[in-house]
Symmetry: C2
Subunit: 368 residues, 2 copies
């Protein structure tokens, strides 16, 4: 059972006239005061998935005022469903309902739901309002904040999408009570990421609190979510469209996307692939002389303590990794760009890794 402080905390993502609040606390889902101020008009469509619908859809819609025109759409669940075809189902539903430019989409679910609903909102009638109501730890600390929306393409993750900011993010910490342990661990990968790239003190705190977090300790989870969202909001406000510092949020993602794409979306959870990818990035940083062996061991221990895999898929060779990594969105004019660690708590964008060093790291990395 999760108990949290009764009063939600609120952070702001500072983006001028596109600024929005992140409300964090227990019981936000059923309470109309958090959603109502962010609806653009009377037409509201709640989009969720088959896993989340039975748990929270009724609770959310009951919190919407009677004079609204509310529709719901339930999509299948899982990373393999993050396709343009499913976004088209959202557009078809909006048009069948006769929804106009002043409608609001509400994304109720994990990162896949949020990314697809955000993209649907970005392109429906050239852009309508949407609100993120993330129900997984991963979505709460990462994907629901910052406006990255989109879908996967058979040739690469998140290749089709848009930057489109939500009107608000409502994080009901109570939803974590129903989250499967494997999903909780996947979310912790992104939490660790913030410590690794930007906040050594937070990393030390996580070292002590990971058992409490995995045990669903409410106070610990609330602090981890608040600190993660604050760090993400700070980075997004500095660099909304990833011209620079925002790329640091991709620590572990270039390796991780290769694993996800190679294994077929949905076999590895995104957070699991990012966990392994961060360890690969740490080991490469060590080979470049930036991290000590002891620091890499610390990273390995953190990833293990979060319940994440420490090995890559047995069947993935060096060329399998490199072929997919070359398509990464961060690359410019054929140079591979990686996010690496100058120190724990200090990430950098690096495009000068010698190809043989990278290949040797991938070759030597343990397989399962």
């Amino acid at each position: 059972m999760i108990e949290s402080p009764a009063v939600p905390s609120t952070l702001e993502v500072a983006l001028g006239d596109r600024s929005y609040p992140i409300h964090i606390g227990p019981g936000l889902l059923g309470d109309p005061q958090w959603l109502a101020p962010h609806l653009a008009g009377r037409q509201v469509m709640v989009v969720t998935n088959e896993t989340v619908a039975p748990l929270y859809l009724e609770k959310l819609t009951q919190g919407l005022a009677d004079d609204l025109e509310v529709r719901t759409l339930v999509l299948p669940d899982g990373e393999a469903t993050k396709t343009l075809a499913h976004v088209e189902r959202i557009w078809d539903a909006l048009l069948a309902a006769g929804f106009n430019r002043r409608c609001t989409l509400i994304a109720l679910g994990g990162g896949v739901t949020g990314d697809m609903v955000g993209f649907a909102a970005a392109c429906y009638q050239r852009g309508v309002a949407f609100v993120q109501v993330p129900t997984t730890l991963l979505a709460q600390v990462d994907s629901s904040v910052g406006g990255k929306t989109g879908v996967n393409h058979p040739r690469g993750k998140n290749m089709i999408g848009a930057f489109w900011q939500p009107r608000a993010v409502l994080i009901d910490t109570g939803t974590l009570a129903t989250l499967p342990p494997r999903e909780l661990s996947a979310g912790l990968a992104e939490v660790l990421k913030y410590g690794l790239i930007r906040d050594a003190d937070f990393l030390a705190w996580l070292e002590a609190e990971l058992p409490a977090l995995r045990g669903l300790d409410a106070a610990a989870l609330t602090h981890a979510i608040e600190r993660s969202c604050a760090l993400k909001a700070e980075i997004v406000a500095e660099d909304e469209t990833e011209q620079g510092v925002r790329a640091l949020l991709n620590l572990g993602h270039t390796f991780g996307h290769a694993i996800e794409a190679h294994q077929g979306y949905g076999h590895w959870l995104h957070g699991e692939a990012v966990g392994t990818g961060m360890l690969m990035a740490a080991e490469l940083s060590c080979r470049l002389g930036w991290l000590s062996e002891a620091e890499v061991a610390r990273v390995r221990m953190l990833i293990e303590a979060a319940g994440l895999p420490l090995t890559a898929p047995a069947e993935m060779g060096v060329d399998d990794f490199l072929a997919i990594m070359r398509l990464d969105k961060k690359n410019l004019d054929s140079r591979l760009r990686l996010i690496l660690l100058r120190a724990l708590g200090d990430a950098c964008i690096h495009d000068e890794t010698p190809p043989q060093t990278l290949a040797a790291l991938i070759e030597a990395f343990p397989r399962r």
Copy 2:
């Protein structure tokens, strides 16, 4: 044969850090100086259609520097091809070529090509650079300027899309020499529109010059394009995402979209439907007491002189119009919004037309 002043003129669309030039003149297509400054990196994909490719594709690619990685993609032609499936073909080609975020798309063709390529650029890896090289009068005076991109949906025109500004618009007036007369007339509909909504002097000039324009007089065409682009650039700079004044550019479009959607995209040219739609808007403005019969007659004469239809499709009843018009993107919370004329050269947004007045106008409007 079209001859124009040798030196291109340049207008600016003033949108802060998204500002861009519109270059207008003869022979821009084969001259590398106009394209080179607007390429984001070394990877360039030129997308065109089967009609335009044999005429201008080689000329354009010959003007690109040798050290660029240039790919071309030729799509089918026509409004019926303005679908998400064709935009997906562009994304597939970009990914197959391994193109990254610093690539540039070049749209060579009419409004359909420009709208699809712009939308593909808006959503490829969350947004890449693109340049408009419009080869029809309609695209040159309207759709290539202002960043409206997107595709049609079976339930409505331009329902899926994004605001995404090009890096530049290159209008080679020489391309009009190969434009079929029917397409020229369709383009003149949008030229007339600028006069009707915002510039009574330009309207008077058009009244005198329509025969010269239809006869491909180079000086007249260049002036019509320059004035149209200047008016559009002014409006877009005032209201990029159509929160207000930009909606005036939709004069005739609500009726016109209904005709296009009902007849099946591609049977009527967009400009033809807009021409008939502008006459319907003028007649409705007369029923509301704003225009005199004489002014409506003047509008009718202009549309006829441009070579555009004065009648709606015989099989379209009042309900056929209204059902589609109710889905128009301008509508907010179930109210029908129309662009009407307070006077010639002075348009307004109006959402208080009595339903019976609108129905009577549609009922009485001549059919073919």
